[in-house]
Amino acid sequence: MDYLLETSRIGISFPGVKALSGIDFRLKAGEVHALMGQNGAGKSTLLKILSGVYRQDEGRIFLKGREVNFSSPTEAQHSGISTVHQEINLIPTLSVAENLFLGIQPRTSSGRLDWKKIHRDSENILSRLDLRIDVSEQLNSYSTAIRQFVAIARSLLFSADVLILDEPTSSLDKDEAAKLFAVIRGLKRDGLGIIFVTHFLDQMYEISDRATVLRNGEMIGCFEAAGLSRMDLITAMVGDAQAARAENEPSKRRARTSQAPGDERILEASGLSRSGAIEPIDLSIGKGEVIGLAGLLGSGRSETARILFGIDAPDKGDVRICGSRLKPCSPIDAIMAGMGFCPEDRKTEGIIGNLSVRENIILALQASRGLRRMLGREEQAAIAGKFIEALSIKTSSAEEAVKNLSGGNQQKVIIARWLASNLRVLILDEPTRGIDVASKSEMQNLILSLADQGLGVLFISSELDEVARCCGRAAVLRDRRKIGELSGDELSPDGIMRMIAGGESAA
């Protein structure tokens, strides 16, 4: 049959990396086609090629049977491929109508803007999405969901054949998402081909007809959603190579599980929740335990960590360190109680780039000592020197600006920062992301040896074999909800995937 949009063996490389290769993506008219994959699988790269942001190095693209070569997103849009981005590309301070017609405003015969027509057409196009709002209101007076609809409406103005929705539901609540799905179904009936990117498995099953899965820049396959089991889907996304790799290194994990976890509970969270981030969750970490938080991207892992550490405020629930309750939304309170946090985004929330390695290391300790009790210069140098040596941080000196260090060494500086303060429990959000393979296993060993010294560790990672190898127990999250815990032999990449897939019968 004829496809609406078809790619033939397209590939693209960036300096040093092959980002995509041999992708045969086929979209039919009147279908919702999910694009699935882990972080770095190549989803956004593929979308960028389809929408004219990047030009592929190899392969060809056919739209309605004709070969196309877009040199810009505008060209792609005029040919009928419209994209609605995750961070909506509209102007919040303009009115809804102005946003819809920006750049394509109709004019009257005398050359002035035809406001009557703009408002009338705006209302018409929005009513196609079953949305009746005042189009002369500023866009930012409406909710995220409505803004999303306006973005979709704008793309319909370009008489789109193909609509790309990049994680449209990531900031919507359940009702809003349901409304969006109703709109998507309507557009599907009108014969549009819709490419839908999401991290929510349930939503994929709810709305999609077919799904294409990418992994490491390659196409794993295209599946009929109805006939695809959750297990197969997750295996396709995560890969079973991970499971195999973990099997080769069972010794470390055995050592971890054989060690009787201390009775002393260092961190306890009960009923912790935040709307749009995580459903009520209980967690408990004992002395010397490494507890994993496993789940796919968007499952609420980082959100949980941020609430635990007091960066975001919980709606309900509380966190206790060694029995005493923490003030919500106060990192300094968490630090004083003995918590440390290595955030997922090292650059924006971790390192303080222009300050020296020494200053970065002593900062948390100094913050908990307060303004007045300044650590002396020699004392600072001694602390920095101690950790540079203990964690073998590679830097020209303690006075080097931390931004000049490699990713792995920056990560070590952040860990050193917490070790230097009075640390009882350490939250690590993707501590091995973006660092090279050798540093990765070094980091894992470091975490294990810290736990052996009595530290409680919460270990968050999207690499399931890493979770299985380092953790004694792991809580598994799916779609912003904790669905269970695994320990012992059940804690394997396979076991985690099975648990994530577990909701199959319910779906």
Binding site: F341, G350, G353
Partner: protein, 335 residues
């Protein structure tokens, strides 16, 4: 090839000091009687003394401004705060209040102004530029209201000592500036204040994650900047023995910002250099004195000042220097 530069060239003070030295040497060689220092009544006089004395207000404001800018903020209101503190001081002096009151009330008003700025920026979260613009405009209005739209004159020798007094041959105001500088240097480097200010300026999000309370730090720096403006206000008002709400301290906030930037503290916040800001203030004053002494016509002074300031800023930028040396090398080689 970062190693090519000797350490002295990488010092944050090198280029501004070099420029100041060049300016002074030029003047000593070509401006008549520039380097002469006379002793009259046991006090030092001369062009150089004049530069030192006249740069005191900018040094005071620059000290506060440096800390504010280091947190990633800006304080546009200092000129207006000068007017407020000057007006209050002049009114009290005219009505014959005792000296401690004449000093304390204006400083308290200045401190409150600073706290207000800090409150808007740190608690309410208004952009520093806008938040301090409020007081920049309204502060001068408040001062005019206080003075009833008139120029208030007073005569109070003990109050006037601030600008007219001498100790060991040097003006009292220089000791005042030195004392403020020494105090700030001590407080920022002997407590963790300096480190926290820089940390917030470099990366506010990460600073929050290490437990630094940006709100209180910002309140402190804006309050301090207000206080510095208050001191400068007393100084300037005693200089003319009156309160001129319209003109006193006019555009001085710009000089203070300029001094800070010339001194090497980046407008984006982060590492700050108090000594650099002092050098910056001296450069600005030397430049003004030079221009006047060389008889550049009044309308042209601002243009000359602008050209010089742009050149200093360019010279301090390592990007510009490497491009320049690339051009000079002729083969497009990058430094």
């Amino acid at each position: 090839m970062r190693q090519k530069l000797p350490d002295v060239l990488r010092s944050p003070y090198f280029w501004s000091l070099l420029f100041l030295a060049a300016l002074l040497i030029f003047n000593i060689l070509f401006t008549e009687r520039f380097g002469v220092i006379e002793v009259r009544d046991g006090h030092f006089y001369g062009n150089i003394m004049d530069i030192l004395r006249r740069s005191v207000p900018t040094v005071l404001l620059g000290t506060g401004m440096t800390l504010v800018i280091a947190t990633g903020g800006i304080d546009l209101s200092v000129g207006a705060v000068i007017a407020v503190s000057g007006a209050i001081g002049a009114l009290l002096a005219r009505d014959g209040y005792p000296l401690p009151v004449i000093i304390a009330l204006p400083l308290a008003a200045a401190l409150i102004s600073g706290v207000w700025n800090g409150f808007l920026v740190a608690k309410i979260g208004i952009q520093p530029f806008v938040a301090t613009l409020i007081l920049m405009v309204s502060g001068r209005g408040i001062a005019q209201l206080l003075c009833g739209g008139q120029i208030i004159k007073f005569s109070d020798p003990s109050f006037e000592y601030i600008s007219a007094g001498f100790i060991l041959g040097f003006p009292f105001s220089m000791y005042l500036a030195a004392a403020v500088l020494a105090a700030v240097q001590t407080v920022t480097r002997k407590t963790a204040l300096g480190l926290f200010i820089e940390s917030i300026g470099v990366n506010p999000a990460a600073s929050r994650c290490v437990g630094i309370n940006a709100t209180s730090i910002k309140l402190i720096v804006y309050a301090f900047s207000g206080l510095c403006a208050g001191i400068a206000g007393l100084l300037l008002t005693t200089e003319i023995r009156g309160a001129d709400a319209n003109n006193v301290g006019l555009n001085l906030e710009m000089d203070a910002i300029l001094a800070t930037v010339i001194g090497g503290t980046a407008m984006t916040g982060g590492k700050f250099y108090l000594a650099g800001s002092v050098i910056g203030a001296l450069i600005i004053q030397t430049l003004t004195t030079t221009i006047l002494a060389r008889g550049v016509t009044r309308p042209a002074t601002l243009v000359v000042k602008a050209i010089v300031v742009i050149s200093i800023s360019l010279i301090q930028s390592s990007v510009f220097r490497s491009q320049l040396s690339g051009l000079l090398a002729g083969r497009g080689g990058r430094a």
